[in-house]
């Protein structure tokens, strides 16, 4: 059996050193603006959470091995080596103290994409054996069992049965030639089965032909969170094989944010070829149905409510307006948060932080950012579109004793669908 070693980690760092990384490091003017953009810094006030500082190990490899000046400094014995101790110390910065939310990348005056580099730095950490237990476990379960939460198809089949019995709808499984193949996240299967029911209801009304694959229904990708392209590739590939076998035209990413990043943006690069199908986020699809007049709703929510923009879907995925179009269809009193859309603050649990038990205390601290945003607004309900955000926000609200229902947008739409006029 092989093992993680410092040497493998160093090699992985070297592999990650491409033109963008090099130009980002050489462009950084140490202005520190990224710190103010990062919720881990703003909520702790601890300068070690300055985004660019989290990259010190990767930066050292770059400087020492890829720059002339660095080589010179190494020769003169002026530079400090990357050691196991360094990686151990930085592990908590790079895994517990970063959700890959990408907010820092938005403010950098020289355009450095810091979250891109953190994602790459994790490749080195994981190869050297420095990844949090929680995400390691999730990755193991994802590869061996098929889902990070250990959900196997029979569990999904049981949920499907329940939903079918409760609602009288059918949920198609393994239907070849359907237009859409829906993916789910374990979180949705186990904690929010309403999502499944909502899909069935909406698709029935809109006349969308769809299916779930019994071989690849799980969309979450721990490989991306732990930062291993090798693991991520295997997980993406399962979905690709299943979708191509069922010959679907589209694969629907579930609400879950990082699942969307994995399947839509990183996937083709990981497997090294374009897909035979297109990937759409469920909100994009719903908005399309809406503008085509295929989504008919009735009644409205009159609560004062707001929307939490999930980083991966909105800031990094570009799905900015669909959630608002959909919300305005069924809500009369929707207000945007300060810093909404692409500048929204992360819930604190993305990028694998929620799967990392050790990070809980820090995560709760970071949640104060969301709390402040909500306090400013004085709303009664929070809507979001990522199962992970939803869970993290529920936990955070509980911790800070704030009473507020957290609702998934897809379900909200489903609740207002016009009942079949038979």
């Amino acid at each position: 059996m092989s093992e993680a070693t410092l040497e493998r980690g160093m090699n992985a760092f070297r592999e990650q050193m491409n033109a963008p990384v090099a130009s980002f490091f050489s462009s950084c003017v140490n202005c520190g603006m990224c710190a103010e953009a990062c919720l881990f810094y703003t909520e702790t006030g601890d300068p070690k959470y300055t985004p660019i500082h989290k990259l010190e190990p990767l930066r050292r490899v770059w400087e020492q091995e890829y720059t002339l000046w660095g080589r010179l400094k190494s020769m003169l014995g002026l530079s400090k080596p990357v050691t196991d101790e360094l990686l151990e110390e930085w592990e908590t910065l790079i895994y517990d103290g970063c959700t890959l939310c990408g907010r820092c990348s938005m403010v950098c005056p020289v355009g450095n994409d810091i979250s891109y580099m953190i994602r790459r730095a994790r490749e080195g950490f994981v190869a050297a054996g420095y990844a949090p237990e929680g995400i390691k476990g999730a990755s193991r379960r994802a590869i061996t069992i098929g889902s990070p939460m250990g959900v196997k198809f029979p569990a999904l089949a049981a949920q499907i049965k329940h939903v079918e019995a409760d609602s009288g709808l059918t949920i198609p499984v393994d239907v070849e030639g359907a237009d859409y193949m829906a993916l789910l996240s374990s979180m949705e299967i186990m904690n929010f089965p309403e999502y499944l029911e909502a899909l069935a209801k909406i698709f029935k009304q809109a006349g969308v032909t769809w299916t779930i694959s019994s071989e690849a229904f799980e969309a979450t990708n721990s490989g991306i969170q732990i930062g291993s392209s090798d693991i991520a590739r295997e997980l993406v590939n399962r979905v690709v094989v299943a979708a191509e076998k069922l010959k679907v035209k589209y694969v629907i990413s579930p609400e879950c944010g990082h699942a969307y990043t994995a399947i839509r943006w990183e996937g083709p690069n990981l497997i090294g070829r374009p897909y035979d199908f297109k990937v759409v986020h469920i909100l994009e699809l719903l908005d399309e149905l809406r503008s085509a007049g295929r989504l008919k709703t009735e009644g409205t929510e009159d609560d004062r409510l707001t929307f939490h923009d999930p980083c991966q879907i909105v800031r990094k995925g570009g799905v900015l307006e669909p959630p608002r179009n959909l919300l305005n269809m069924v809500a009369t009193n929707f207000v945007d948060m300060n810093d909404s859309r692409e500048m929204n603050w992360c819930c604190g649990g993305g990028g694998g932080v929620s799967a990392n038990e050790r990070a809980e205390e820090l995560r709760i601290k970071a949640f104060k950012r969301k709390k402040t945003q909500l306090d400013e607004l004085n709303v009664e309900t929070l809507v979001t579109a990522c199962a992970n955000c939803r869970l993290i926000i529920e936990e955070g609200l509980e911790e800070y004793r704030m009473e507020m229902p957290v609702v998934g947008l897809t379900e909200m739409i489903a609740e207002h669908l016009v009942e079949d006029e038979k």
């Binding site: 059996m1 993680a4 005056p109």
Partner: protein, 368 residues
């Protein structure tokens, strides 16, 4: 703040040593600077001595009517040591784009830098100045003209970075709605160096600063106020496609046989023969390439009024053969080193990829 003051009063040599730069490393840097500025090797000790004693100079960077491309160019600089060192060791006290401070605090920083370094600071300007109406561009309620005049009053020298500051650039192009003028048209009583280009080559910007630090004076300038060492020869004189030009072999379209064979781009509008700049030798992006090498003719961006010089794809009317202004431009050792480092980096990365062992779930743990 007090800390900053102390830093400011340190000499460059002290500051470098505090950062762990050894005497040997420092001399290497001086040698690179000398070669970049085409100075004889005997000058190295003199440079070292001068830099060693130099105080961290204060630099105030003003941005007027511009696109920020010049700042981008500078912050993307890669040259082995010069830029890094210079920028770690000057005190960039005011820069709209890069500074954290805003509003009154920013203006206060500028004023503080001006008073504390009266007569000694360098003003870098990018962008042109509108004279038609101050409202076209103002900062903190101060018009560009006023800010330039008051900041330059106590300066030792002014560096006009980019074609906008040097010659008016795009804002000055016909019909020049804002009445844009260059820095040199306003500042008459202080030395002004034009570092033109759209954007200028980063090494050239810092080279000028290094020269100032070393000799306390500005480098020798050409008739347009540009440093001779960098602008002494035309693109055409240094172009690697020149042999084809001399043989009369020209590409006629961007995808014909000639273009594929790397023939001269003159007939496709290359302005190389009338353009003075260091692109062909210093190159761009860490010595990767330059416009003509990537298959496009030179636009002539470092020349006055290049926007109004006819279409970018119109060939100059006569092949100009009498433009060989021979000056002592020496290809910097830094450039050669840069290219070598690039090749080395590619191989480091390729080797790492070859050594990649797939990460599986069985090797997430360290066994010890």
């Amino acid at each position: 703040m007090a800390d900053d003051r102390k830093k400011l009063s340190m000499t460059l040599g002290e500051s470098l040593r505090q950062q762990g730069v050894s005497r040997r490393g420092f001399l290497k840097y001086c040698a690179a600077t000398a070669s970049m500025m085409a100075l004889p090797p005997t000058m190295v000790p003199a440079i070292a001595q001068a830099l060693e004693k130099a105080k961290r100079p204060s630099v105030i960077w003003l941005s007027f009517q511009e696109c920020t491309g010049c700042t981008e160019s500078l912050t993307r600089s890669h040259s082995p040591s010069v830029e890094n060192l210079i920028f770690d060791h000057i005190s960039l006290d005011y820069h709209h784009t890069l500074q954290v401070a805003s509003g009154d605090a920013a203006e206060a920083a500028r004023e503080a830098a001006m008073h504390e370094n009266e007569g000694k600071y360098i003003v870098v300007v990018d962008g042109s100045i509108p004279l038609a109406n101050p409202g076209y561009s103002s900062i903190a309620g101060i018009s560009n003209l006023q800010m330039l005049e008051e900041t330059v009053a106590g300066a030792a020298a002014v560096v006009a970075v980019g074609s906008c500051a040097a010659f008016g650039g795009l804002p000055h192009a016909n019909p020049n709605p804002t009445g844009a003028v260059s820095v040199g048209e306003i500042v008459k009583d202080k030395p002004v160096v034009n570092v033109s280009g759209c954007p200028p080559i980063p090494t050239v910007i810092t080279g000028v600063l290094a020269h100032f630090l070393t000799f306390g004076s500005l480098p020798e300038l050409d008739a347009l106020g540009r440093p001779m060492v960098f602008f002494g020869q035309s693109i055409h004189d240094r172009c690697y496609r020149r042999p084809f030009y001399d043989k009369g072999l020209f590409a006629e379209t961007f995808d014909d046989e000639g273009a594929r064979k790397g023939w001269c781009l003159f007939r496709l509008g290359c302005k190389g023969p009338m353009t003075y700049n260091a692109c062909a030798t210093a190159k761009w992006n860490q010595g990767t390439s330059w416009p003509v090498e990537s298959g496009h003719g030179c636009l002539g961006c470092s020349e006055p009024d290049f926007w109004d010089a006819g279409g970018f794809y119109n060939a100059l009317s006569i092949p100009d053969s009498d433009l060989t202004r021979k000056t002592g431009y020496v290809v910097g050792a830094g450039v050669a080193l840069g290219a070598a480092a690039g090749a080395l980096n590619r191989s480091t990365r390729a080797k790492a990829a070859a050594k990649h062992e797939t990460v599986t779930i069985d090797d997430l743990d360290k066994k010890s």
